[in-house]
């Protein structure tokens, strides 16, 4: 996997994320679903694609795990690896933006919150952009916007299908209006992809909110979600403060959106790969 070497060389002295996870993890995990709380062998959880065998709760997975899960034999080439964030607004809150970036880069081994991979899904050459929640909440700044736009333009050039896996709290505040404008930039590129009659599938995972939902996540030819994911525009707390009411149970969960007609399907992670294989066969010209 040559892409991986290149990546680590650039950031330097960072252990590959897989290694670090293994070192720090115990043998058992407790299910994050409060109503379940089952104790699960970590090995069993991994084999079950990080879905609780007892209740079906979907644990969050990393962008790399996502790409390995989707591509045939877990193999892909990484694209647009050398695009790094800056601090255009010289943003300072409790800690400077540069410090937050460095921390996130060290923790994830990534330059920013998205990986673009190219490989095959059911034998069909496909580009997948996967967001990394561990990088500042998967927030969308200039780098995420640029990498997705480059991926779309590459799909147009090569006539390839595109999948974007969202996992994000929304636009990155520390890049201000530049983050906001990524919504327009990506959506404009998606208009072109659509004009070229090329397929785009959006997969929403827990969570997909704010400016990410209000741009590319909702613009798929198919909009699908993993079970139980929080999906919405406004945050639950903001809504509660605005309307001064408790929110109904299940509000902004995948199943709620499905019921309101906002999703094509809610797909269990264990059936996700086959779903994309079949969907790609549906949209790709017959051979």
């Amino acid at each position: 996997m040559s892409w991986f070497k290149r990546q680590t060389d650039k950031i330097g002295e960072i252990a590959p994320p897989e290694e670090r996870t293994v070192k720090t993890e115990g043998i058992f995990v407790k299910c994050d679903n409060e109503d379940c709380g089952a104790t699960i062998y970590r090995k069993d959880l991994k084999e079950n694609l990080n879905v609780c065998p007892t209740c079906g709760y979907h644990f969050r997975i990393t962008a790399r795990e996502r790409l390995q899960l989707l591509f045939d034999d877990g193999k892909y080439d990484e694209r647009d690896t050398g695009i790094a964030p800056t601090n255009p607004l010289e943003f300072v809150d409790k800690s400077p933006y540069e410090v937050r970036l460095k921390k996130a880069q060290k923790a994830t081994g990534l330059l920013d919150a998205l990986i673009t991979g190219e490989g095959r899904i059911g034998g069909v050459r496909t580009v997948v952009c996967a967001m990394e929640f561990n990088f500042i909440g998967g927030s969308m700044g200039s780098v995420v916007g640029e990498k997705i736009t480059l991926a779309i333009e590459y799909c147009i050039d090569q006539r390839l299908p595109l999948i974007i896996v969202s996992c994000s709290g929304g636009a990155r505040m520390q890049e201000g209006a530049l983050s906001l404008m990524q919504m327009a930039k990506i959506s404009a590129a998606l208009a072109r992809l659509d004009d070229h009659r090329l397929p785009y599938f959006s997969l929403m995972t827990n969570p997909t909110t704010g400016g990410v939902t209000a741009s590319y996540a909702m613009l798929g030819d198919l909009n699908i979600a993993e079970p139980g994911a929080i999906i919405g525009f406004a945050g639950a707390r903001v809504i509660e403060q605005t309307i001064r009411q408790k929110l109904p149970k299940g509000f902004q969960r995948s199943e709620f959106l499905l019921e309101h007609g906002m999703l094509d399907a809610v797909v269990d992670r264990r059936e996700l790969k086959q779903f994309f294989v079949d969907a790609l066969a549906f949209v790709c010209p017959d051979k």
Partner: protein, 275 residues
């Protein structure tokens, strides 16, 4: 509000935010009266309801037929509530798109006016697809063939503003602001303290000058002495000049050139480095 850390930069940013929200500031319907003739409002999204937080319609601008799409805040308490404080629901964005498509069909340019705290955060808005409505507008505005001229007259509140903000030219009034999140919201999240709003406003770079510097807007439209609220007529007249010039520029382009220019305008936004 007790202000923490009142540096000149923080004070300037928060003062602009306050001017953008000034309760005597001219709103879309005021500008429409002063700038257009034969205005007829066109209501409803043909799907669910007529969102009063968004105004759409047909009018003449210096004799020429145009479509208008705008946020509308209310002046007094009653109107403010009726217009949901200028915070649109998905139906408002769908109405906006319906009228923009109408304009495209008949070859009329579109003028949009932005002034909103943001898209409405509510249960019904989420149920009916607030995110989807905004997203679809962003995609469709990128490929509408007629000229689109965007003017930020007051508050440019995040995705709720951008949803009518994709165009060939994006201009902002001198005391307008445009931001990914309200300074109060940002302060509450990053500082866990709403009193840090002035610091957040400065950090977010919400002022017209900062937006121009970062390539978010094309031009800053000057306001009358003291601000647009001091002299609505003069403010409208100045805006009219900018609209006329922006329209003339977009008119000169073929559809292909116009769409390419619009694409590249947003395509180049962002700041990153190649390593």
């Amino acid at each position: 509000m007790d202000l923490v850390n009142p540096t000149p930069a923080n004070m300037e940013a928060i003062n602009r935010v306050q001017l953008a929200r000034h309760d005597k500031r001219p709103y879309a319907l005021d500008f429409i009266k002063l700038l257009f003739t034969e205005f007829h409002e066109l209501h409803g999204d043909r799907k669910f309801f007529d969102d009063p937080a968004i105004i759409a319609g047909m009018a003449r601008f210096k004799g020429r037929p145009v479509a208008i799409v705008a946020h509308q805040k209310g002046r007094d308490i009653k109107e403010r509530q009726a217009r949901n404080f200028g915070m649109p629901k998905p139906d408002g964005y769908r109405k906006a798109l319906r009228v923009m498509k109408l304009a495209e069909k008949f070859g009329r340019p579109i003028l949009t006016f932005i002034d909103t705290p943001g898209a409405y955060p509510g249960i019904d808005a989420e149920e009916r697809g607030q995110a989807e409505a905004i997203a679809v507008n962003l995609r469709e505005m990128a490929r509408i063939t007629v000229p689109i001229i965007v003017t930020i007259t007051g508050e440019g509140g995040s995705g709720g503003a951008l949803a009518i903000g994709v165009g060939d030219v994006v201009n902002i009034l001198e005391n307008g602001v445009y931001s990914v999140i309200t300074p109060e919201g940002c302060a509450a999240i990053l500082w866990k303290d709403a009193a840090m709003a002035p610091q957040a406003a400065a950090s977010l770079k919400v002022t017209a000058r900062d937006l121009l510097l970062h390539g978010i807007v094309d031009e800053i439209i000057p306001e009358p002495e003291g601000g647009a609220h001091e002299n609505w007529e003069m403010a409208a007249e100045i805006i009219g000049g900018y609209l006329e010039r922006s329209l003339a520029e977009s008119d000169k382009l073929s559809v292909k050139e116009r769409l390419e220019k619009r694409y590249l305008k947003f395509r180049k936004m962002g700041a990153f480095e190649r390593v």
